[in-house]
């Protein structure tokens, strides 16, 4: 396939197929370093702390959180939306970029998808533990019971149950189907019998047969085609948790696409945070190049600007609507007691990504890393602003209240961060972080030209 010479190579270092296999398999074959152990100790203890706090919540009750009669959702649901948003980048990269034939996705889709799965696990925890009676959470499933009751199909929270479980399942299938050939590669490289057996089991007997590849490609494409609207639907449905309500600041029609955009925005930021470190630690700079970072930064600026336009649209419409509650809700966001949250959100999400218009910054790893963290802070605050500032002052001023999180809520959030990074640390030791077969597939067209293998 012809690629214009003005395009930057996606794989640097004049790699051969063999080299690619070696480079990517190296973290699985080598012994983890001290940094890895230190990392997992840190994330593991965060996870344990979070688990303790979850246990405490379930034991004592949601009263241990800072919520109250007016503000029924706070950190918990903020975290839920934040995590689920982060969990959008992986599938977006794999599915939508696949459909749009963006070759640069091949180096990052595997880890981004893994991240998606971990983020969705973290996200899925919150709807569960924020319940007053989490032990009865199974009520949300429409199973036949003696009372003849079904669930409420009108409830966006129920839609969430279906959307998130579907999203997780399909993402997992998609990810695993993509992994099968690479697990085959690992299987053929590992030496120990046990490992060989395990990877053999996991590789589903992959041989690399042309017919299998044909089906594999076909299923990947269709799964991508399915996953693309799925990505849209999941965060749209999450946004409907808010948008279907009658609460000013929640009920606004732009939410579905705006949430999707924000999700991709934050998801890419998280991918960048992870990959900028991962590429360094695992010596994958030749695969995850500055060009990749720049491409992701472009998506960030695009989605960030969409989010910015949505903010402005909301603000304008609040005024334009002439509805006093709407107008107050937005005034209150910007100037009320939670003004700082609003302005953190604004500066992190709208203003700071605009710096990426400068090519220099777009290609600066340090800047990108810092910015990616800023964006995720900003996106966290976006959800906080939407949830808390809308709830804390809605229709009847008699019920206006303030919300302050407790250590329990913060602890659970830290716990999910721990869970997320623990899973990621384990992942990079177990599975290839980069889709080996896919990278090989674009080596010819997009690799840095290697005189030896360039016979086309």
């Amino acid at each position: 396939m012809y690629v214009s010479p003005i395009r930057e190579p996606l794989i640097r270092g004049q790699k051969t197929y063999k080299k690619i296999t070696q480079d990517i398999a190296a973290p699985i074959e080598g012994k983890p370093g001290k940094a890895w152990y230190a990392g997992i100790a840190l994330t593991g203890s965060a996870l344990l702390f979070g688990l303790a706090m979850i246990g405490y919540t379930i034991w004592e009750g949601i009263g241990t959180w800072g919520l109250n009669k007016t503000i029924g959702w706070g950190w918990g649901i903020t975290n839920f939306v934040w995590w689920i948003g982060i969990g959008h980048a992986g599938t977006f990269i794999s599915a939508i970029l696949l459909l749009f034939r963006q070759k640069w996705r091949t180096s990052i889709n595997r880890s981004a998808e893994a991240m998606t799965l971990f983020a969705v696990i973290c996200a899925g925890l919150f709807p569960l533990i924020h319940m007053g009676r989490p032990l009865l959470a199974f009520f949300v499933f429409p199973y036949p019971n003696t009372r003849g009751l079904w669930v409420n199909f009108n409830s966006p929270l129920l839609w969430d149950v279906f959307a998130i479980s579907t999203y997780f399942t399909v993402s997992l299938l998609f990810w695993y189907v993509g992994l099968i050939p690479d697990i085959g590669t690992i299987r053929d490289r590992v030496k120990s019998k046990l490992k060989k057996w395990i990877y053999g089991l996991l590789s589903f007997g992959w041989t690399g047969s042309a017919k299998h590849w044909q089906r594999h490609e076909s299923i990947s494409l269709i799964l991508a085609g399915l996953a693309a609207p799925l990505v849209l639907s999941v965060h749209s449905i999450v946004s409907m948790d808010f948008a279907t309500s009658v609460i000013p600041g929640w009920h606004t029609t732009i939410f579905p696409p705006y949430f999707v955009s924000g999700a991709i925005f934050s998801g890419f930021a998280m991918v960048l945070t992870l990959l900028i470190i991962t590429r360094k630690v695992l010596n994958l700079e030749n695969y995850i190049t500055v060009g990749h970072v720049e491409s992701m930064n472009k998506i960030i600026i695009a989605t960030g600007s969409i989010v910015g336009i949505a903010y402005l649209t909301e603000l304008f419409m609040a005024w334009y609507s002439g509805v006093e509650y709407e107008q107050y809700a937005f005034m209150n966001r910007a100037t009320g007691p939670y003004w700082w949250a609003y302005w953190i959100m604004m500066s992190c999400n709208v203003i700071s990504p605009q710096l990426l218009w400068f090519k220099k910054l777009r290609r600066s790893l340090v800047f990108t890393f810092i910015l990616s963290i800023f964006i995720n802070i900003g996106m966290w605050f976006e959800r906080f602003v939407i949830i808390v500032t809308s709830l804390h002052r809605d229709y009847l001023p008699s019920s206006w209240e303030m919300y302050k999180p407790t250590i329990v809520e913060v602890g659970i959030f830290i716990g999910t961060l721990g869970l997320f990074f623990t899973l990621f640390l384990l992942f990079i030791r177990v599975f290839p972080v980069i889709a080996i077969a896919e990278v090989k597939g674009v080596l010819k067209s997009s690799g840095e030209k290697n005189p030896k293998s360039d016979k086309n």
């Binding site: 009263g63 919520l67 009669k69 029924g72 319940m131 009751l149 409830s155 229709y395 001023p397 303030m402």
Partner: protein
């Protein structure tokens, strides 16, 4: 699931050890004797048995519905004649607590009182109740009560106690040493006769009545002016113009239940009645009464006397009578005088302070305005307060001097609430003989040698005469739970007489009451009918020519004319709406009832004007020191007169149950004695900021309506021009929508709240808590906005911060037909009934709180912790008020399930009452009649502000109100289609008067 005892024998072996014991048994213990087999030997009777059964049934109902296993369940062996399990019985009775009186019905289930309802037949309380009346039921099951007689702090039997006391009494009688019987005002005719007999038996005993909140000045002023000792009866429903100087007549001034009813009756607007009274309030602190006034003028207490004198003078001028030399009255006072004169014979002027001069002045003004006989009368008296303040002063000095050797103290707590409480305590400790006849330990009884515990009123017989010739009866709803005895029986016992007080009352009534009527041929039927009705109000046509005379009027006026307003800060001590004098401080429902004005609960605090707060750089919650003596948290109260502060008494109980102990600070010492009466005003106090902070538990922290049409209002003249005034956009959106409005063919239950009638007293809140088993969460959780009230009264301030207009709006679940909450519940735990109710299936609820978020009215409440012990996880109970112990659980309404941790709950529009009403109608084979079903809040409301009914019943009172032009739905622009609606608030203002 259910665990029964395997056999009675198993149970018996356990109680065997008990029965061998000779220690006298409390009633609860006696109850258990039923199962000892030897029923004849047991003293238990029908009610005991029922009580236990009911109790068990309650527990089982409550528990079976939750996640816990059932501990006990005892089926009826023989069905008692008047009890049908699951059906409530009602007994007419009377609530009495010191000067608080109310005619009530006791609702019992399986023999167990569970709820107080107002008695519609009473002309005094007219079916209304107050928060304290509603909450009193919980006092019955208070663990803090005395459970048996005590001698010097050790358990004794009644026989022992009676023996010793009689012996001692005889000894004192023989040595003719003075003893004192200290009681609150006794307005029971039979009791008064017993006391008199007691005094005859022991002539060395003096009887002193003590009212914790004194109205001595009124009694004395009436004595001076009209030669009638006692308090006049007021008729707010006859008054077109009410001018009150600091009289909180809708709050704690005399009888709020009666006053609220009269007041709101006169102010109820409808198509038929378009007039209402005008109410002008002069006061320093923003009282409940002031907040309802059409005009409210802030004055310092020290300025009031002069204003009243000027007003009197101006009226005299208008009447062309001799008048006095006073400083020139302001235009306002002149205007007011004219207005009063215009309304002569239909006006009412009141003074709240316990100051004889002021009371004389208002007597004079009312007399000049020819109001006597119409809006107030001295011949008909309010008898619930009879004490004179001097008596108590004398008692204390006599005790100190040793003249008084012994004290028998019934149902008063002067050590706590008397301003010289600590001196009194010292004196009591020195007394050789002291007998406390209280039902529970308090600061006073704690110091006494003998404890002869009194019954709770729900366990007592009594008769009462709260107003001249308005009698009512008190009958018990249950046998005494503990080994206690009524005060009257104790006196009888100590006189050596038959202790059956019921017989005593019957005798008294046969002699004195029966002849007053002609309707019943014999006493038995008279008695039974009266007992059933609870009240006996014989027609008495008396003509009384009120003649005003006061010898020292000139002197009084000249004294007042010399007064000049002080610059200093003036402190006013008042009783709060919920806690009153503090005798019910151990009642968690009352502690958690937010003050109507400040919305603070679980504390007293110092209210201060916004201006002064700014001067002293204070915020709500800052702690100040008062005269370097005591510290109080500050609450900045809009409408508090500048340079005045106010603190509620009744707080700071130290000998009390777990609930009320050390809640707030006792301020009794800030009351003083002027020589004639006790004064609750202290001039020239010094405030000092300490820099400390204190967290007040407030159920509402934002006080402005933010310009939103939440409480819609209009002035009377606007209303007369246009009945829809203030409510112009009403029902604009009724027909918008993509899909059809839901249709409820059979019933469509609804409520309407008349914001013009609601005075904000909070009776509905407590009634709801009692009816619906709403948990108590405690101060800490209220601070965290975790309170559970199903009906709250929103209070808004608007206008000038120094003297704002106040709005009250009871908000409960609005039962929206397009309910945003129902849509979003993932498990369909909240759905709409076919009768238009928004219902909660607690067992289905998984606690996402999504419904609560999506409720625009924020009426949904979440069980943040295990408040009710309905959770299967151990060691996580949050029950600061011990509401989950077995005894207190007896108060639970078995028709309403208690809610587990993690479940949303909310107003059900008393669906259990609706169901009951429907069943009753079905048994009768007739459709439900309008008015047959009343919600708990409606039943409790003294002003009739809440009306329940069927929106499909076009003849119902509800539909009449909902079709009124004043009717609107809260937030109707979001099309939730509530079944609850409101009527606009109308203030009787005229444009040219300040």
């Amino acid at each position: 699931m259910k665990k029964h005892w395997k056999s009675l024998a198993e149970r018996n072996t356990k109680s065997d050890t008990h029965s061998k014991n000779d220690i006298p048994k409390g009633n609860l213990e006696q109850l258990l004797d039923i199962f000892d087999g030897d029923q004849s030997a047991s003293k238990s009777n029908r009610r005991d048995f029922l009580k236990l059964c009911g109790y068990s049934l309650a527990i089982s109902t409550v528990l079976a519905s939750c996640e816990n296993s059932v501990q006990k369940a005892i089926p009826y062996l023989i069905k008692p004649e008047e009890i049908t399990p699951g059906k409530a019985n009602y007994y007419a009775s009377s609530y009495v607590n010191g000067s608080d009186y109310c005619s009530i019905l006791i609702k019992t289930r399986e023999g167990r009182p569970i709820k107080i309802e107002g008695n519609d037949l009473s002309v005094v309380s007219h079916g209304g109740t107050s928060a304290r009346v509603q909450a009193s039921i919980l006092g019955l099951y208070d663990t803090n009560r005395y459970k048996f007689p005590k001698i010097e702090d050790t358990k004794a039997s009644w026989e022992e106690l009676d023996q010793e006391i009689r012996k001692t009494l005889e000894a004192f009688k023989n040595s003719n040493e003075k003893l004192v019987l200290l009681t609150p005002s006794i307005y029971s005719p039979s009791s008064r006769q017993i006391i008199k007999a007691f005094q005859q038996a022991y002539p060395n005993i003096d009887w002193i009545q003590y009212d914790s909140s004194s109205s001595s000045a009124m009694i004395q002023a009436n004595e001076m002016c009209f030669d009638k000792t006692g308090i006049s009866e007021y008729r707010f429903d006859n008054a077109d113009l009410i001018v009150s100087f600091d009289a909180d007549f809708l709050g704690n001034w005399l009888d709020s239940v009666e006053h609220i009813r009269q007041y709101s009756k006169k102010r109820k607007l409808s198509d038929a009645n378009t007039s209402m009274s005008r109410h002008i309030q002069y006061e320093s602190r923003l009282s409940l009464t002031g907040s309802n006034a059409d005009y409210r003028i802030t004055v310092k207490p020290s300025e009031q006397a002069l204003l009243m004198a000027q007003l009197y003078n101006e009226i005299l001028i208008l009447k062309d009578k001799d008048n006095y030399q006073l400083t020139d009255s302001s235009e306002d006072i002149k205007e007011l005088a004219k207005e009063l004169w215009k309304n002569k014979g239909k006006s009412l002027v009141l003074a709240g302070e316990n100051d004889i001069d002021k009371q004389v002045l208002v007597n004079a003004i009312n007399f000049e305005l020819e109001n006597y006989g119409i809006t107030l009368r001295v011949d008909k008296q309010l008898k619930t307060k009879q004490a004179k303040d001097e008596d108590m002063e004398d008692l204390l000095s006599d005790m100190k001097s040793g003249k008084v050797k012994g004290l028998l103290c019934y149902d008063v707590n002067p050590v706590f609430d008397y301003y010289k409480g600590s001196e009194l305590a010292q004196a009591i400790k020195k007394l050789p003989f002291s007998v406390a006849l209280s039902k529970e330990p308090n600061e006073t009884s704690d110091l006494f040698n003998y404890i002869a515990p009194d019954n709770h009123y729900l366990e007592s017989w009594n008769d009462l005469e709260p107003r001249t010739s308005r009698y009512s009866l008190m009958q018990p709803g249950i046998r005494p739970l503990f080994d206690t005895r009524q005060f009257q029986s104790s006196l009888l016992a100590w006189m050596g007489k038959e202790t059956d007080y019921l017989k005593y009352i019957q005798n008294y009534w046969e002699q004195n009451m029966y002849p007053l009527q002609a309707a019943y041929p014999n006493f038995i039927s008279f008695w039974q009918h009266t007992l059933q009705k609870g009240v006996f109000e014989p027609k008495t046509d008396s003509v009384f020519d009120t003649k005003f005379s006061h010898q020292n009027m000139d002197e009084l006026m000249s004294e007042i004319s010399k007064l000049s307003a002080s610059d200093g800060v003036e402190l006013q001590v008042y009783e709060s709406i919920a806690i009153g004098n503090g005798s019910m401080a151990n009642n968690p429902w009352l502690q958690e009832l937010p003050d109507p004005i400040t919305k603070v609960c679980w504390d007293n605090y110092l209210t201060i004007s916004p201006k002064q707060a700014a001067e002293l750089d204070l915020e709500t919650g800052d702690v100040v020191e008062l005269n370097s003596k005591a510290k109080f948290p500050v609450y900045i109260l809009p409408g508090q007169a500048n340079n005045t502060i106010a603190i509620a008494s009744g707080y700071g109980r130290t000998v009390c149950g777990v609930v009320g102990k050390n809640v707030g600070v006792n301020v009794a010492e800030w009351i003083s004695f002027s020589g004639q009466t006790r004064q609750n005003i202290t001039g020239n106090v010094k405030l000092q900021k300490t820099g400390e902070k204190y967290e007040l538990a407030m159920t509402q922290t934002h006080h402005s309506m933010e310009g939103r049409a939440i409480v819609k209002e209009a002035t009377l003249s606007e209303y007369l021009n246009n009945p829809a005034a203030g409510n112009e956009v009403d029902h604009e959106f009724d027909n918008a929508g993509i899909y059809e409005k839901p249709n409820f063919p059979d019933h469509h239950w609804g409520l309407v709240v008349d914001l013009n009638s609601c005075v904000g007293c909070g009776a509905c809140s407590v009634a709801c808590q009692s009816e619906n088993n709403v948990p108590v969460v405690g101060k800490k959780e209220v601070i965290r906005a975790h309170e559970m009230s199903w009906i709250r009264i929103d209070r808004y301030f608007s206008g000038n911060e120094d003297n704002p207009e106040v709005f009250f709006q009871p908000v409960m679940c609005q039962h929206c037909d397009n309910a945003p909450c129902e849509n979003v519940c993932p498990v369909a735990a909240t759905t709409h009934s076919s009768e238009g109710l928004n219902q909660m299936a607690y067992n289905r609820c998984i606690g996402t709180r999504y419904c609560g978020n999506n409720c625009p009215y924020k009426v949904r409440r979440f069980n943040w912790f295990d408040f009710t012990k309905a959770d299967s996880i151990p060691n996580n109970l949050h029950d600061i008020a011990e509401m989950t112990i077995d005894l207190k659980r007896m108060v639970l309404n078995p028709d309403v399930v208690i809610r587990a941790k993690g479940v949303i709950e909310k107003c059900s529009m008393c669906v259990q009452r609706i169901q009951d009403g429907k069943l009753n109608a079905k048994l009768k084979g007739k459709p439900v009649k309008d008015g047959e079903i009343k919600t708990a809040c409606q039943q409790a409301c003294p002003s009739g502000a809440i009306i329940f009914g069927d929106l499909n019943d076009k003849e119902s009172q509800l539909v009449k109100e909902t079709t009124s032009k004043r009717n609107y739905h809260l937030l109707e622009e979001i099309h939730t289609l509530p079944s609850v609606s409101y009527l606009t608030k109308i203030r009787n203002k005229i444009s040219n008067q300040t």
